[in-house]
Symmetry: C2
Subunit: 190 residues, 2 copies
């Protein structure tokens, strides 16, 4: 208790996704998650408010990285170039473990309406973080909001490809490709 | 009980928004909402599963109208023309009462994280309904998803303008204008 627990956060996420998959989200307790991770309930609550938030641990990190990536783009960057820089900034945050448990995480969320709502809220939060960062670069509305939606859309497409067991390509490459496809699709809308 | 209650649905929505605004969402009960509306709890539960769903009553109607609007667009319509037809199809569903209580409804949702999550889920549901309708017209992905996001973005912008007390213009006109602005913004992204 109180001592440093190596990778506690990631161990708790993995344990939660495993248990939710095995016995269902509603039937799983924080005590069981902590036990499966080889940690105490107190350690769990130092990292997460409740069992639901374990599944959305990435939201703050991703929001911050997206905003930092936009802020660090060159002054002359177009809105889409700034969004591409934001997606690049995410790359470093993804671990091999996340890649492996991606399909199980998606299945757990898809099976529970409360989790699907929370997932939609996460996505909306990422769009808002990215749009705010673009507004700070003086991208006006509605272009800032639109570019943010395109960027987050690319993020989710890339994340889904990246966590597909049949796919071995790096996240950054998939994100660039997804953004390029969306950008090309824009011109087909008329 | 069991008899026809004129406008029961709208009366319940209005009563709920009033009470949530006056005394908070958490402190308000279904019994209080029914009483304020001059109806019984049994009538409430014939229309809504719980007090939360009262605030998202429009989701099914809007999803259906968006999909029907896309389906009814001429065969030769571009994706954006089909989206414009979908927004037109929504117009008839909005009542003067909705226009009036729009700001109060937004304030109630903004004050409660559970309601903000539910609202994000509603928006995601509308995007999905519109994207599915576009796919049925053989609009490929990611263009279908992107056009749906642009369309729902225009819907929310238009709805916010329409429920602004300073604004007296009709919804259909505001929706067309919002869609035009978003479409123009697309070309500024690069």
């Amino acid at each position: 208790m109180g001592r440093w627990e190596p990778n506690a956060r990631e161990r708790l996420v993995l344990a939660a996704v495993e248990l939710f998959g095995e016995q269902g989200y509603d039937s799983t307790t924080v005590a069981q998650i902590a036990e499966r991770a080889g940690l105490t309930k107190a350690t769990f609550f130092r990292h997460f408010r409740d069992k639901r938030e374990v599944l959305f641990a990435g939201q703050d990190v991703h929001s911050r990285l997206l905003a930092d990536g936009v802020a660090a783009a060159p002054d002359a960057a177009t809105p889409m170039a700034a969004v591409a820089a934001a997606l690049d900034a995410l790359t470093a945050s993804f671990t091999p473990a996340q890649r492996e448990f991606g399909p199980a995480l998606r299945a757990v969320i898809a099976a529970n309406s409360e989790l699907r709502e929370r997932a939609a809220f996460k996505r909306a939060g990422l769009v808002e973080a990215l749009a705010d960062a673009l507004r700070r670069r003086n991208v006006p509305d509605p272009a800032a909001g639109l570019a943010a939606e395109v960027g987050v859309h690319a993020f989710y497409r890339a994340f889904e490809s990246w966590t597909d067991p049949a796919n071995a390509r790096p996240f950054g490459e998939l994100a660039r490709e997804a953004l390029g496809e969306l950008h090309a699709a824009v011109t087909t809308l008329h």
